[in-house]
């Protein structure tokens, strides 16, 4: 919402400075977004041309002497055809910035003659596009005084960012009311007098959609002369960014911005028969005033005549019945429209107009008729003519909202001590009616405040006028009762997983939650319920079923700019369904190239190997461990999802059913879909699949018993079938004596012809820790026997000879 200072002062009697006004506006909730104080026009002075001679060296130039009022005539070279002795115009001295040519003037020579400034055209002052000559003012224009003041160019323009709850401030009058309430002056009365009409309005209106149109007022003015509106009106409209059209149209805009009351004018000669307010029929079209054709639906409201729609109600008039210079009889319409319907229609048609802006916020219903009177007055004043009586249809009057308001509510919600009398005063200044002197008053909202619903709204009114700055900050009380802990178990795990993965040299990425449909499909997603109806781009269409596609694509983007060895992770949501439970809490990561745990690339002491399944497995287990998973109880088995390499991937489970994660190298087909080049591996773990830890009564750690007896290690090599899992063999060794065997490490794998086809050797180092006595050779012999037997039983393996 834009307006000028002089326009505001038409409604507000004030001595406040521009700075005081803008500060007050912001602090009462009408945030000033921009102020143009027009200071750039200040240097231009009214000056008289004393002499004008032909330039000695140029046919089209003249050499002027100019009196700018200081008694020291200056020489100016000028090319304007209308430059002549005696002309009074606008002069810019050297050093002045001229906005229309975006140039700061300096003293210069033009074809050998010095020029000390410039006589300006309207275009050079950005007053209009006029550039056929320099500004030519009346003889009596006061030479030596600022041109801007004379021409009305010094009227500062203020723009406020209006919140959707304040339709009353879509007009200057409402803004003035707020400022007056805040003590910045006195609101001038509206001073609208009813205008008697000459006979009934011959144009009738029927409302077929009363739910969309709760009131319609109109009147005809005959015999108007439409032409350009007066200078002062044009200047104000231009100042706020509107283009003057003609007096009738300008008046509607002026009333729209001055009082927040949108109007429409029909050329009566172009209206066929009576008007009807009705829902449009599907597919009905109208040519709007903006020259575009709009196709209406049955949900939209239109003002139609016998020919068809003449206006999109509350949004835009139709071109066919619009007013131009030939208009002699004008129908002025002031109506009420259903805000929700206007909002929806405007959105669906993609039309943003000043009328829509106001109607969708809710205009003052009680100003429907006064607004029409106001417009009639202006039409009569500017265009002449004879008005008919006003015809009002469908308006049942406005029921003002009354709220029981305990004055103590101000203190309860804001902490501010505002006396009841002061609250009453503030509300009354804003136009509220306050009844009752006790602790609770009945407060009636004015018709221009549809946003007032209850007590809290009144508290806001009192607070904003009283001043939020007057409320002293108060510390929050300490609250022992609020929540036992800051983070939930899941949140603690999320945080731990991030830090653990970053500590493994990986970089945390945050990638889009929506990914291309093909990527989603390649990772088991793509369900209809997880597709966006209005994606922002075609390749951001599906809620991701996995973190991997986003990370893999990111890795490839990095590779494409020369950074191929990357390790990325993300801890975030994936989406199995559109319900809250369908959002999984997942940690995922990928490694590409040679981005291994110990570093990437070549080095003098050893080159990093290409990443593979075991890098991903280590990441997955590290993340699980950081999340508090019982790592020694986890099992790893085949059966990872099909986006992985079937032979180089695995599932991590806790118990037979609970899948905690998967890892592996990616399937070549998956990489093809994603357009990613390997080597690359990845993993995902499901943080929300981890069981909640048991609530322990104590934080005390279990007792530690340190054995005084020497620990020993023994090596075994077993020959087993090639498909025997090393993990199974490891478990068999450990299970041979759960007391003595404290660790089993696989330290060598061997496959060779000597072992026979389909056989392999697995060598393990067994850590043995006696607890009650030092082991004898016989003890170790016996233990070895148990280990060999256990392995044989579990895997069919035999000790390698």
């Amino acid at each position: 919402m834009k307006f000028t200072l002089s326009w505001l002062k038409d409604h507000l009697d004030t001595d406040a400075t521009l700075a005081e006004i803008t500060e007050a506006l912001t602090m009462i909730g009408l945030e000033v977004e921009a102020v143009d104080d027009k200071a750039q026009f200040a240097p231009f002075t009214i000056a008289r041309v004393l002499t004008a001679e032909k330039h000695p060296d140029a046919d089209k130039l003249k050499v002027l002497t100019v009196d700018a009022g200081d008694g020291k005539p200056v020489q100016v070279v000028c090319g304007a055809p209308n430059a002549r002795a005696g002309l009074v115009g606008a002069f810019a001295a050297p050093g002045t910035y001229v906005p229309g040519i975006d140039l700061e003037l300096s003293v210069g020579k033009i074809r050998g003659v010095e020029s000390h400034g410039m006589m300006c055209s309207e275009r050079e002052l950005e007053m209009s596009d006029e550039h056929s000559g320099i500004i030519d003012l009346p003889e009596d224009a006061p030479v030596g005084t600022p041109f801007a003041a004379y021409a009305g160019l010094d009227d500062p323009v203020i723009e406020i960012g209006l919140t959707p709850n304040r339709p009353d401030c879509t007009g200057v009058h409402g803004i003035a009311r707020d400022l007056a309430a805040a003590g910045l002056g006195t609101l001038k009365p509206l001073g609208i007098e009813p205008i008697a009409g000459d006979g009934a309005c011959p144009v009738d209106v029927r409302i077929d959609a009363p739910d969309l149109c709760p009131g319609f007022a109109l009147r005809l003015v005959r015999g108007v002369k439409n032409g350009p509106s007066p200078q002062w009106m044009q200047q104000r409209l231009i100042a706020i960014g509107l283009r003057p059209i003609n007096a009738l149209v300008d008046i509607t805009n002026y009333v729209t911005f001055g009082w927040g009351r949108p109007l429409h004018v029909f050329d009566a000669a172009k209206v066929t028969g009576n008007l009807v307010v009705r829902r449009a029929t599907d597919g009905e079209t109208i040519l709007g005033l903006d020259g575009k054709e709009y196709t209406l639906t049955g949900e939209m409201c239109t003002i139609a005549d016998e020919r068809g729609p003449e206006s999109i109600a509350g949004i835009m008039g139709g071109e066919e019945s619009g007013c131009d210079e030939t208009t002699t009889d004008v129908v002025i319409e002031s109506a009420l429209w259903n805000p929700r319907n206007v909002a929806r229609t405007g959105r669906d048609l993609g039309i943003i107009t000043d009328a829509r802006y106001r109607f969708e916020r809710g205009v003052d219903p009680e100003f429907m008729v006064p607004g029409l009177e106001l417009a009639t007055r202006m039409v009569l004043d500017l265009c002449g003519g004879t008005p008919t009586e006003t015809r009002v249809t469908g308006y049942a009057g406005h029921q003002c909202k009354t709220v029981d308001f305990p004055f103590a509510e101000v203190r309860r919600l804001t902490g501010a001590d505002v006396e009841a009398a002061k609250s009453t005063d503030i509300l009354e200044r804003l136009g509220f009616d306050v009844n009752g002197r006790g602790e609770i008053a009945k407060v009636t909202a004015p018709s221009w405040r549809p946003d007032i619903e209850g007590k809290a709204d009144l508290v806001e009114e009192v607070m904003r006028i009283h001043g939020v700055g007057n409320i002293a900050p108060l510390p929050l009380e300490s609250h022992g009762a609020v929540n036992g802990r800051v983070l939930t178990v899941q949140q603690v795990r999320t945080r731990a997983a991030k830090r653990a993965l970053a500590a493994r040299g990986m970089m945390e990425a945050v990638t889009w939650s929506f990914i291309p449909a093909a990527h989603a499909a390649a990772f088991g997603g793509g369900a209809a319920a997880l597709q966006l109806a209005n994606p922002i781009a075609a390749d951001m269409s599906d809620m991701r079923p996995s973190l991997l596609p986003g990370l893999l694509a990111a890795a490839q983007r990095n590779a494409n700019v020369g950074h191929g060895d990357v390790a990325l992770f993300e801890v975030a949501g994936t989406y199995e369904s559109d319900t809250p439970d369908g959002q999984r809490r997942v940690a995922g990561g990928i490694r590409r190239g040679t981005a291994t745990l110990t570093g990437a690339g070549r080095a003098w002491d050893g080159h990093a190997a290409a990443v593979g399944v075991f890098d991903a497995k280590a990441d997955a287990l590290a993340a699980l461990e950081a999340c508090g998973a019982p790592v020694d109880k986890l099992t790893v088995e085949r059966g990872a999802p099909d986006w992985y390499h079937p032979g180089r991937s695995g599932l991590i489970k806790l118990g037979p059913k609970n899948v905690l994660g998967h890892f592996g190298e990616l399937h070549p087909r998956t990489l093809e879909v994603l357009d990613v080049k390997g080597p690359v591996c990845g993993f995902e773990i499901f943080i929300d699949a981890l069981p909640e830890p048991k609530r322990k009564a104590t934080r005390t750690k279990p007792r530690l018993d340190l054995s005084p007896f020497q620990a020993v290690t023994r090596d075994f090599a077993f020959v087993v079938d090639a498909d025997v899992a090393a993990g199974a063999l490891q478990r068999a060794v450990a299970g041979a004596d759960k007391q003595l065997v404290t660790g089993v490490t696989v330290f060598d794998l061997f496959e060779g012809a000597a072992l026979g086809e389909g056989r392999k050797s697995v060598a393990v180092e067994v850590q043995i820790q006696p607890t009650d006595r030092t082991l004898t050779d016989e003890d170790l012999e016996a233990l070895s026997g148990r280990i060999v037997a256990s392995v044989e039983k579990a895997t069919g393996g035999v000790l390698r000879g």
């Binding site: 929806r344 804001t414 809290a456 806001e460 809250p580 570093g599």
Partner: protein, 366 residues
């Protein structure tokens, strides 16, 4: 005899000392030791003759031989030590390497935490100290939780302030939305928990918007306090303390302006004092400029009702702030879009080391 014996001992000593001095390695010195003070060594053999000497002779020769033995023994030990040191030094000399060769950096130094995670940790540290717990909610929301329960009227222009992503409609024609703010978690929390409530809600939010300062996905932090006593005065204190703590400045001027949000009444917007005179840098707590930083207000009675609470009994405040924007303001990233590019050069530069965990006692940032 005396006259002949002494020179002979002196001669022996000179010979032995010369042998000791010239022993080139540990083997040689061992040979010298055996030859001198071994069982059949020259000194030992002479010591054996003492028994056969007269008392007078013994009185002279005893101390002389004993003195010789001590000096030879010491000299051998000294030479041995010397030779061992020399041998170690010689070995070490052969083991010397070029210590300017590079080593692999620790993965804990090369990994990075994304600024969004770091800032959430910073905020959590501050708010935990004020008694707030962290709550979360789903990204895919119903229209009810995202709008209706938060007092957004149907078709009201306030809904258009949020450019909403819609999910494909289901069989009943109902369409879920990607939450446009973290505020739905206010309702979910009030439904699940009795007041007093003091929570912050960090999370992903989505709006159909994309330019230099808007991305279709971004992160928001919501704060919510509901009890029977909390007022705008507490709100002002909380926001001021939060901003000072987050930007790590001792003092900062703030401006609370009345504003409008459907889910708060009264509503406020907050500006923070800053200095933007240096390009690419914002200093808080200095300068004459104001920057809008967050929106807040007292929880709207209709929102309390939607959460199952009586607005005449319960009251409180809520605020919402952009996490990505906070990160940009504090750490100076110029472009929001880069947050979601996963460019490792950006992550390395703007990311945080995994062991730099924000705490109040250790400082939020290093």
């Amino acid at each position: 005899m005396n006259e002949t014996a002494r020179p002979e001992i002196d001669q022996l000593e000179r010979t032995l000392m010369a042998d000791i001095a010239s022993a080139a390695d540990e083997d040689a010195i061992e040979q010298v030791r055996v030859a001198a003070i071994g069982k059949k060594g020259a000194v030992s053999e002479r010591m054996k003759t003492l028994g056969k000497m007269s008392a007078e002779e013994r009185q002279v020769m005893g101390p002389a031989l004993n003195g010789l033995k001590v000096r030879v023994t010491d000299a051998i030990a000294a030479r041995k030590a010397e030779l061992r040191d020399a041998a170690i030094e010689a070995r070490l000399a052969t083991e010397t390497v070029d210590i300017t060769l590079p080593v692999r950096p620790s993965p804990a130094e090369t990994g990075r935490i994304h600024p969004i995670s770091q800032v959430i940790d910073e905020i959590t540290a501050i708010c935990a100290d004020m008694g707030f717990a962290v709550a979360e909610g789903p990204d895919i929301e119903t229209d009810y939780y995202n709008f209706t329960a938060l007092n957004f009227p149907e078709d009201h222009p306030a809904r258009e302030m949020h450019d909403t992503f819609f999910m494909a409609p289901d069989a009943n024609g109902e369409r879920k939305v990607l939450r446009t703010h973290t505020s739905p978690v206010q309702i979910r929390t009030m439904e699940a928990q009795e007041p007093p409530i003091r929570i912050v809600i960090p999370g992903k939010t989505y709006r159909h918007d994309s330019d230099a300062t808007h991305t279709p996905m971004f992160h928001q932090l919501e704060g919510l306090v509901v009890d029977k006593v909390t007022t705008v005065a507490h709100l002002k204190w909380t926001i001021e303390e939060f901003c000072k703590a987050f930007f790590e400045v001792p003092d900062v001027a703030m401006r609370f302006r009345p504003s409008y949000f459907p889910f708060t009444e009264p509503s406020l917007e907050v500006d923070i004092q800053c200095d933007r005179s240096k390009p690419g840098e914002v200093r808080f707590g200095e300068g004459n400029d104001w920057m809008e930083i967050l929106g807040c207000g007292m929880v709207h009675p209709n929102v309390l009702r939607a959460g199952g609470l009586d607005p005449d009994v319960y009251q409180g405040f809520a605020w919402g702030i952009g996490i990505d924007r906070l990160a940009m303001l504090k750490y100076g990233m110029p472009d929001l879009r880069a947050f979601f590019d996963a460019d490792v050069r950006w992550l390395k530069h703007y990311g945080f080391r995994p062991l730099d965990m924000p705490t109040l006692f250790g400082g939020l940032s290093q």
